[in-house]
Assembly symmetry: C2
């Protein structure tokens, strides 16, 4: 699909995902929310807690995509390497952020603000903080890279706050769904023809199974209602002719 839509990539950082200990749901949240306002996710990658791997991937992604989101690796322990990796990627240094320190001091009494916790107040010198109303230790962003913690409940609150900024520059796009009781094997060739003719649109085809029925959801995405409607009309007329019981959503 040719498009002017802004792109993004997601970097999930954490051995716990790679070992199967934890199911990553953060990328799904970020993709869903940004897709809804017209951004396109080009790549999601999960990598281990290794500084060099993180900084190389951040440098690759920030050049390839308009925005980059990272999750994980900004906590207080030895396996939290993201902040320093981001500093390295930008040729920057970790420095004690006074505002972050102040917030942590307010949250933890003196004896609980350990060196390990204070580590969370060190961010790259050029970074700007992202508020964390749940566990206080902030995320941050630097240029087009947004750095979030990995705990889903905390990420969710912080991400939805950042999302407001993106919504301001929202680019509209049109999405329609057609369901049919015909299977992909039956309609596949026709769909391929339509996709070829309408290369400016994205036509996705997803089989579904629920209760005792099955069928296919066709998802049509484009930048103008006119083009999307043209394709929907074509598909519905084809499906009706072939007893495919099309329904438009």
């Amino acid at each position: 699909m040719k498009s002017n839509r802004k792109t993004f990539g997601i970097i999930i950082i954490g051995n716990e995902i790679l070992s199967g200990k934890t199911l990553d749901t953060n990328s799904h949240l970020i993709c869903t929310e940004l897709h809804n306002i017209g951004l396109v996710c080009k790549e999601i990658v999960t990598i281990p807690d290794i500084e060099k791997i993180i900084s190389e991937k951040v440098n690759l992604f920030r050049q390839k995509f308009d925005f980059v989101f990272t999750t994980g690796g900004i906590g207080p322990t030895h396996d939290d390497k993201t902040s320093n990796a981001i500093a390295i990627a930008f040729g920057d240094l970790l420095t004690l952020n006074k505002e972050a320190k102040k917030r942590l001091e307010k949250h933890y009494s003196d004896d609980l603000l350990t060196n390990a916790r204070l580590k969370m107040a060190y961010v790259p010198s050029r970074a700007k903080l992202i508020d964390n109303p749940v566990s206080i230790a902030p995320g941050f962003f630097i240029e087009n890279v947004f750095v979030f913690p990995g705990v889903p409940k905390i990420l969710e609150v912080m991400f939805k706050d950042i999302l407001k900024k993106f919504k301001k520059n929202k680019k509209k796009f049109i999405k329609k769904i057609i369901t049919t009781t015909l299977s992909e094997g039956i309609i596949g060739e026709y769909l391929a023809d339509v996709q070829k003719k309408y290369s400016d649109l994205e036509i996705g085809s997803y089989p579904y199974f629920k209760k005792n029925t099955f069928g296919v959801s066709l998802v049509i995405i484009g930048e103008t209602s006119k083009r999307v409607k043209e394709v929907c009309d074509l598909l519905i007329s084809y499906l009706e002719k072939n007893n495919g019981n099309p329904r438009l959503f």
Copy 2:
């Protein structure tokens, strides 16, 4: 962690994951099962249904890792591009696999074996089939690259069959878990010291919240019981001294 353990990477193919329509759980299944028999996942990547992107990523991964698993994109529609992308990656050609065709002919009556469905019998000429007892259309492998469909219920059956081959060459490793009621912020510095001293082991630290309690799970992984026991003894003694109520699993 320095290791002789075999490595693998996973390539998840499909716009439906990148748009947030579908939550990927396939990589979690593969990681869990292979971690349990001692393999190490180095990278998971999710990419769109674009032939060039798929073949480039397959070529990168198959050189970097011992094994590569792909999911998605081998169905009957125009957005299923994986098989051809794999052929391109290996400098091979898609050819009609007689055995795959025979299975599809048996499964579908003549009028239902459409051209779109027959597309699923085309695999790279050097590929070997992976049986699909659910929906018949096979997966395949070529050298160290294993190609699976994206529908989780089908992938699960097919993957567990392949898993048997890996279990035969299983390399043992030792894993222990210690839980404590002390938080990461308290034990972080000590943990970092221990990790530095025991660089041949992997010490992971994962906060948990359940019901009204919280704490940390420490996961210690190594290749000999002796080394893992040494670290466990150290950590337990430290946690006991600091009223961290350690429990070993």
